[in-house]
């Protein structure tokens, strides 16, 4: 009785009883994850470039000069006037790449947002309400998965014409499947937890339970899927543009640039290599970010 345990506060054995908050842990893991940091920084840099495009770009990306077509980049014997050379209409390649970042990021982001909204609503509803709702959603997911994405997207874009809005809309309406699948599974998992029953037993309304008990606990998965689907949308847009049914010229899209450069691929391979490489780096960075986020948020989800 002489020494009550709680007064023994300097004892080293007692140190770690109150650990860091989940937020602190998350931050620590976040900054400790190399892939995540690399991916996030690259994405951040590209984002800044995209936002500041008018300031950074050395030339007007639309200004053509038919007398200076397909000038090679500086490292292949070009001039500093056009660091990455010019395209088949004599437009500055670097400036077009910089403006292209806007297109890719915009498409990735908005398409992921649209599909995320659709998929999350479906997935959460299926997971939470189960029964018939679940059956319908599962069926819809099956139908969606059975439709060949590239083919359907191409067909729709061909029909409606390839404006930026149409491409974003088509991708947004096609890529919700993974959201629905993941959100359904996460909701199902969280729904079985006893704190949900506790909230129900307290009399909390369904919207309240969905918003304050379920959503915060599936948000991490949602964020991971958003990043991965963003990458997916960006790649798909590039593919559509490559096949000639994506966004329309003169809008500089990287996929379109590859497609345009493709014609001279055998003679001027850099026309294809440069935009493809930038596209690769962006998608790689987003994927690294998504993977990192998954790593960082997963253990928390388990405990």
């Amino acid at each position: 009785m002489t020494l009550a345990p709680s007064t023994n506060s300097v004892d080293p054995l007692l140190q770690d009883i109150v650990g860091p908050t989940p937020g602190q842990q998350l931050r620590r893991r976040f900054f400790g994850h190399r892939g995540l940091m690399i991916g996030a920084s690259v994405v951040a840099v590209l984002l800044v470039i995209a936002l500041l495009a008018p300031v950074i770009a050395p030339h007007d990306p639309y200004a053509q000069d038919l007398l200076a077509r397909m000038k090679p980049p500086v490292f292949l014997g070009g001039t500093w006037e056009h660091i990455l050379g010019t395209d088949h209409l004599g437009r500055d390649y670097l400036s077009r790449l910089i403006y292209g970042a806007r297109v890719s990021l915009l498409i990735g982001f908005v398409a992921a947002l649209i599909s995320g909204t659709i998929g999350t609503a479906m997935g959460v509803a299926a997971g939470y309400f189960g029964g018939r709702t679940d059956a319908v959603v599962t069926f819809l997911i099956n139908v969606r998965l059975a439709m060949p994405v590239v083919l359907v997207a191409l067909a729709v874009v061909a029909i409606l014409g390839g404006s930026l809005q149409v491409v974003i809309g088509v991708l947004g309406l096609l890529l919700w499947d993974r959201f629905a699948v993941v959100m359904r599974a996460s909701t199902l998992q969280v729904r079985g937890r006893e704190y949900v029953s506790a909230a129900q037993a307290v009399g909390a309304s369904t919207p309240r339970i969905l918003l304050s008990e379920i959503m915060p606990n599936i948000l991490n998965n949602l964020i991971v899927v958003i990043t991965l689907e963003m990458a997916h949308a960006i790649l798909l847009e590039a593919t559509l543009s490559f096949l000639g049914l994506g966004v329309q010229p003169p809008t500089p899209s990287w996929g379109l640039m590859v497609s345009e450069g493709k014609n001279m691929m055998l003679f001027e391979p850099w026309l294809v290599l440069i935009p493809g490489a930038v596209l690769f780096v962006l998608v790689l960075a987003i994927n690294l970010m998504g993977d990192g986020l998954r790593d960082v948020t997963a253990p928390e989800n388990r405990s």
Partner: protein, 481 residues
């Protein structure tokens, strides 16, 4: 290769049906000229008409043509050629019910009748001066018994004609193998010398070039200018360039179909557009080769295509001034449509942007654009027309300025003049009225004609070939070196 006597050729587009009445593509024309013959033949160099399956012909009246047929000609399947074949073919294709795809090529004919085994008459619906031209082009003669049996589908899979080449194999859309017709009649087309022609569809130009490098292709054509230029720098290939009848032009919504207040209803705006575009630069930087800047709404070699019309030189300042006069000091924004040659269209739209006409660029599939133009019209669109290689102004100007669905000018006076020119049998009257119409089109800048197209032919040095300006690949005139 020369070693195995087979010439490997690439087509870029998939050909829908080898039956020449049921496709509308250039590739189809190439095969048509190789596999079938027409009654008449026009020398592509001299433009002189010669007898082919017919030996002589004469106009009985304005609407009746009589032909004497060549004797002793047989089809590839052994069927003999005679008046029955001509009568059957003409009656079949002239009947709209049978769904010939290119109605314009055949709809001027009413029927055919047999006079005797080697004499036939073709009856026209109305006087049609370009009849011989058409008969020397798209109208080829089919074997009546065989065609009655298999129809267009069977003809497409297993074509039979009288031409210099027999079809040995067809994989629809992918591959056609031709073999020399050893018993080819004494035709003005000449006798074939190359044994076999192996045609594959390779849509991608890079792949075509790569195969050319690898020696698995001997000849490619319609090669884009930039690539052709590079290939010409290499020793092992010959690059030949020939002009074609296709022209590129802008059609402007002068009639206000997209809205009464459309800027293009204003003549000054249309003229500003014409002044804004540096057509010389387009030709020298993008099209290259034998392309030329044109100012009339037809291809210069076409009958009646008067070149002495108003021409608009590149003058952006003047364009801006005209726009200001028209009340568009700050320019305006308009939709700009195109369906092919995205790079040309982009370059054009960029010129328009430079003088203040901001374009909202829309690239559509041909059918979608055509539907849009038919239904509502478009403010500006970049169009091209190849006239089916028919060397007559009626094949282009009359197609678009007679108040049809694609007529953006909708000028009744033009229609009347063109009607006269199309149906008159007097060449001078025709010339006069075409000239009047073409001058009015130019003065009013209904169209902004831009340039004519050209075609590149790239082939190994072991082949000799001289391409013709009608953009038809003629295997008969090719030889191994």
């Amino acid at each position: 290769d020369k070693s195995d006597g087979t010439l490997s050729v690439a087509f870029t587009k998939e050909l829908e049906n080898v039956d020449s009445y049921f496709n509308s593509s250039r590739e189809g024309v190439v095969l048509q000229r190789a596999v079938w013959d027409g009654l008449v033949y026009r020398d592509p160099v001299t433009s002189e008409y010669k007898g082919n399956l017919a030996t002589a012909w004469e106009w009985i009246d304005d609407v009746t043509l009589e032909f004497k047929l060549r004797e002793g000609v047989t089809f590839h399947n052994g069927e003999a050629f005679n008046a029955d074949d001509v009568v059957f073919t003409v009656n079949f294709v002239a009947d709209a019910e049978n769904g010939v795809k290119t109605q314009r090529n055949v709809s001027w004919m009413k029927s055919a009748e047999k006079i005797d085994d080697y004499t036939v008459r073709i009856n026209l619906k109305a006087p049609f001066p370009a009849a011989i031209e058409f008969l020397s082009g798209p109208v080829s003669m089919y074997p009546n018994e065989y065609y009655a049996e298999v129809g267009p589908k069977g003809m497409g899979l297993n074509p039979v004609g009288t031409g210099p080449y027999k079809v040995a194999e067809v994989i629809p859309g992918q591959r056609f193998v031709l073999e020399k017709n050893a018993g080819y009649h004494d035709s003005p087309k000449g006798q074939p010398s190359i044994e076999r022609v192996d045609i594959r569809t390779i849509p991608d130009i890079n792949t075509q070039i790569a195969e050319l490098f690898n020696g698995t292709l001997d000849l490619i054509w319609q090669t884009p200018a930039d690539q052709a230029e590079k290939l010409a720098q290499m020793d092992q290939f010959t690059v030949a360039n020939e002009s074609t009848m296709r022209i590129g032009y802008l059609t402007l919504d002068a009639a206000g179909r997209t809205g009464e207040d459309n800027p293009f209803t204003n003549l000054k705006v249309r003229q500003a557009v014409a002044h804004a575009i540096n057509r010389e630069a387009l030709v020298s930087a993008l099209l290259k080769g034998k392309s030329q800047v044109i100012s009339t709404a037809c291809f210069p070699s076409q009958f009646g295509c008067d070149q002495a019309v108003k021409s608009y030189d590149y003058d952006p300042e003047k364009a801006k001034a005209l726009l200001a006069e028209a009340g568009y000091e700050d320019g305006f924004t308009t939709e700009f449509y195109a369906y092919r040659n995205r790079d040309y269209a982009e370059a054009i739209s960029s010129y328009l942007n430079a003088v203040g006409i901001k374009t909202d660029f829309k690239m559509l599939k041909y059918s979608a654009l055509r539907e849009l133009r038919t239904a509502k019209g478009t403010p500006v669109s970049f169009q091209t027309w190849g006239s089916y290689s028919i060397n007559d102004t009626s094949a282009i100007t009359s197609q678009f300025f007679k108040l049809g669905a694609l007529d953006d000018a909708r000028d009744p006076e033009l229609r009347d003049w063109l009607d006269v020119a199309d149906s008159s049998t007097n060449p001078d009257t025709r010339k006069e009225f075409y000239s009047k119409a073409l001058n009015k089109i130019a003065d009013n800048a209904y169209w902004v004609p831009m340039f004519s197209y050209n075609t590149n032919y790239v082939y190994g040095n072991d082949i000799s070939y001289t391409p013709t300006p009608d953009e038809v690949l003629r295997f008969t005139t090719m030889t191994w070196n």
